[in-house]
Symmetry: C2
Subunit: 543 residues, 2 copies
């Protein structure tokens, strides 16, 4: 039984999508790192990967096969290695050294909700840890097959749950099984004239269930809304039973349990269906580049734009460093041409901050909203670069992870992390995280990609020469320095990527010790045997 | 120590605001009920009200006085009777018969968050139930001083916690203590050029903490957002400690605990501050009346309007019955004149459905949005009534509870209840609840007051001759018939009024048994002694 369209086990995407920076980009990276890039390293052959024997008892394996069918319980090395990790930097470092030792003992592929429930019941009875697995794209260790003190662990691959269960056109609600990937979701909706408008960078491989479980933000979420604003209903299948939350436009009926299952990251149960707000496909769309004199000026403009209620659907502002990187690496020819032109130099915006804006909808509304944004940008010293940088960004919008893999293979520590804060605290947050990263990495870039009336997100990318003796130790030092700066500066520990394994120790900073205790109490009720996704979201006592 | 600006203990508002329907309105009610209204009854004198002796132990009373000051622990009959009930129909029936037996043993008025925490700790230790009390405007029994098996119960009046703690203009966030009433919130913001835009019908007396605790909807919430969409941060002071949730524009950090404290109705702890999104005061505003050929046609128009993204901030559509009642009772002179005119008759909309729309903001945006709505309404057969019915509605927007009291005093069962559902289920929900009410009440009216892309609210008002032998039994029968119809037709059990005492038995229909178990687990963590607002939100085992 196939496990969906699979990414290569040691990196992002599929082989024919691989990507290298252009020659001038390699030179730019080498200049910034002060060191030459190494040759591209190839990962080891699958056959040579270290993989311990399965610890799943034969009786349990047989019982699982009875529930879901023989072909839906896979214990072969390929299936286990594909489910051994997500796509975070430490995950890929480990896999590329041929180490898949945390691999699950088996991969179980239930065919419907009832089978999910039966598998969870069996695993609770037998003491088998269960790691829900959608697209496997977590960059925070969210699908790491940790055992949590249990003997065995299985990956619960949701790749067979791929139906659109309902499309309520009148209410603009679509109900999906969790295993549908981004392009499949949009394909199903497009056939009926609708769109979800949710495009995280992982769009090609991540799943609709994973988006809800990780409280995902898409590139157009400033306009279409984060997934938590788009969820109308959901069913959580937990070891203790089911919570079926019907779609409701709004309610005053106590705490909203939707917001408890959104972001639950597999530790409370498995999302077996989700009902999301959809929209008619936009009649028109336009993407445009702008150059702002500085990141500060751009941020001030974005604040004014969103607070006046006319934010573009895609709103993205790079700081001066990311602007430099984008031009060097991504080859935004249109932008480069415009910036080097005498027109731009005359306006004094060369070396400034690149912004991308996208508007979608009926042409009149797009024109009106674009005009309102243009007026604010002009007042803040912005100059338009026209649509070609916008089109270039849209073409390459899912491209960065491929580029990361290439650099990683040439000996570069390349990682991203993100936060969000209120407008009044944003500059301090930006400077604090940047300072923490700069003590470890010679190049640090940042962009704002989501704006709200009360604040914005900050998304950092940083590069350093990889310390080959201990690359994961190197990564851990810089990662935690940045996280501590985020907490100290009052940001949220994550705006895009979720908590997973890597941020769990910071959850108390977000929710307080008593808030974490409340979440643990919920978990103890829904998952009394503690089998669901051990070591994720909630800090382990040793952390 | 004063307990804030107090409503009369036996009814809504203050004496000088009392209101009777006009003579033609009385005749209309009598015609609809098929029975003459009785004379207005006066409530009994405060001194004659039945009030049991306090069961608060002297040692506990002394300890409470040590914590908050002598004058901030009140055991006098007046204070206890004022805190004996909310303003629901059964509450008022009971009080007007001189029965205040569920009165709290004492009223405690903490002066700050630390005192709230200390009072909760003391009560947890001494086994004293605590009922948080903001404006006391609950119409679902949310402040009923139930003991939950404990010996004593105190009302925790938040009337001394009335500061605006911060106004972050840059982030458009204001932080309030919980005890501020609606007019005080708006007054504090107006002085700085801002508004919250939250205007529930209880606005004059309800508090900002109460709004958050009950997941409140305001009359302009279609535009400004329900309180749950406006909350950015909050602090919950619970017997087990505090959960301080800093304002965050958005986050991917697991389940959103804001949505656990919003709507927690005092059963988890006390909201000791709330941080809300505010907006600049609108530069202009316009309210307008429309007549639609039918409720169905109006609902279809509202759906089209909200789904095209141009919903007015106030969007309100009465069914044909409520239209009749509004014209008979409220004396909307402008609307009546327009409807009786030959113009309206010629358009065939006499006897139709009255709608009120309100737009606020900068004049250009108001004009544009109003034009878009007008086009849709015209396409659905609507005819404008101009601004005078809109102004009349805005003048009387907080008026209905006074009118209810007058009718109640003349022997009329007058009650409201509300729900919300998806657009595709709305007609069935409307017809189902109407049918359930009509088996008990000769007159049933309804309006839509909140619209969403995926659905709308339904707010029912019904009248029946009061059964004097057992008015609460009569109320209970019709109330529960309606609630069962709501559940059967897939609506939420409450969109405006919250769960409180009256809807607690329906929470499992909303959240499932396992969802309720999860909430109980949260409560056991935050309130291990079970002192917080017994008998509210969570169904009691006997229910």
């Amino acid at each position: 039984m196939a496990v969906g369209r699979e990414m290569r086990w040691w990196g992002w995407g599929e082989d024919d999508h691989a990507s290298s920076p252009p020659a001038h980009g390699v030179a730019w990276v080498e200049g910034r790192l002060g060191a030459p890039l190494g040759p591209s390293t190839r990962p080891p052959a699958l056959e040579t990967v270290q993989l311990p024997g399965t610890r799943l008892k034969r009786r349990a394996a047989a019982a699982l096969r009875d529930l879901v069918g023989d072909e839906a319980v896979r214990e072969d090395p390929h299936a286990r290695i594909v489910h051994a990790a997500g796509k975070g930097y430490p995950d890929l470092i480990r896999l590329r050294t041929g180490d898949a030792r945390p691999a699950p003992d088996a991969v179980v592929l239930p065919g419907d909700r009832a089978q999910v429930g039966a598998v969870l019941a069996l695993c609770a009875e037998a003491g088998i840890a269960v790691v829900p697995f959608g697209g496997g794209t977590s960059v925070v260790g969210g699908v790491e097959p940790l055992r949590g003190g249990l003997d065995a662990v299985v990956a619960l691959d949701l790749g067979r749950l791929t139906r659109m269960l309902a499309l309520d056109v009148r209410s603009r609600l679509a109900t999906f099984e969790p295993g549908l990937r981004g392009p499949e979701v949009e394909h199903l909706l497009r056939g009926r004239g609708y769109t979800l408008g949710h495009f995280p960078q992982s769009f090609e491989y991540s799943t609709v269930g994973g988006w809800v479980a990780t409280r995902s933000a898409g590139q157009a979420s400033t306009g279409y809304g984060r997934i938590d604003r788009v969820v109308a209903g959901a069913t959580l299948t937990a070891p203790a039973g089911e919570i079926a939350l019907a779609a409701r436009p709004a309610s005053a009926a106590g705490p909203d349990l939707r917001e408890l299952v959104v972001g639950s990251e597999g530790v409370l149960g498995v999302l077996t269906d989700v009902t999301l707000k959809v929209r008619p496909r936009p009649a028109s769309g336009i993407y445009e580049g702008w150059m702002l004199p500085s990141f500060d000026a751009g941020a001030a403009a974005l604040r004014e734009i969103v607070q006046s209620g006319v934010a573009p659907d895609v709103t993205r502002l790079s700081d001066e460093h990311e602007t430099e990187m984008s031009l060097a690496l991504a080859g935004l020819k249109g932008a480069k041409a415009a910036i080097s032109g005498s027109y731009m130099r005359a306006r004094g915006v060369a070396g400034g901050s690149l912004a991308i804006f996208g508007w979608e909808g009926d042409p009149d509304a797009v024109t009106r909203r674009r005009r309102a944004t243009t007026a604010v940008l002009a007042r803040h010293g912005g100059a338009t670069l026209g649509t070609s940088p916008g089109r270039a960004w849209a073409r390459g919008r899912f491209h960065a992870p491929y580029l990361r893999d290439d650099l990683l293979g040439r000996g570069v520590l390349v990682e991203t992390l993100e936060t969000a804060g209120t407008w009044s605290g944003l500059e301090r947050l930006y400077r604090g995280v940047r300072a923490a990263l700069e003590t470890h990495a010679p190049f640090v870039a940042c962009h704002i990609s989501h704006v709200y009336t009360d604040g914005a997100s900050l998304y950092f990318t940083f590069l350093a020469p990889m310390e080959r003796a201990d690359p994961i130790g190197q990564w851990s030092a810089v990662k935690h320095a940045a996280c501590e700066a985020i907490v100290a500066c009052g940001g949220t520990i994550t705006h895009h990527h979720s908590i997973g394994r890597d941020h769990a120790r910071y959850l108390p900073a977000e929710d307080g010790a008593l808030g974490v205790a409340a979440l643990r109490a919920v978990k103890a009720t829904l998952d009394p045997a503690g089998i669901m996704n051990p070591g994720k979201l909630l800090p382990t006592s040793s952390a």
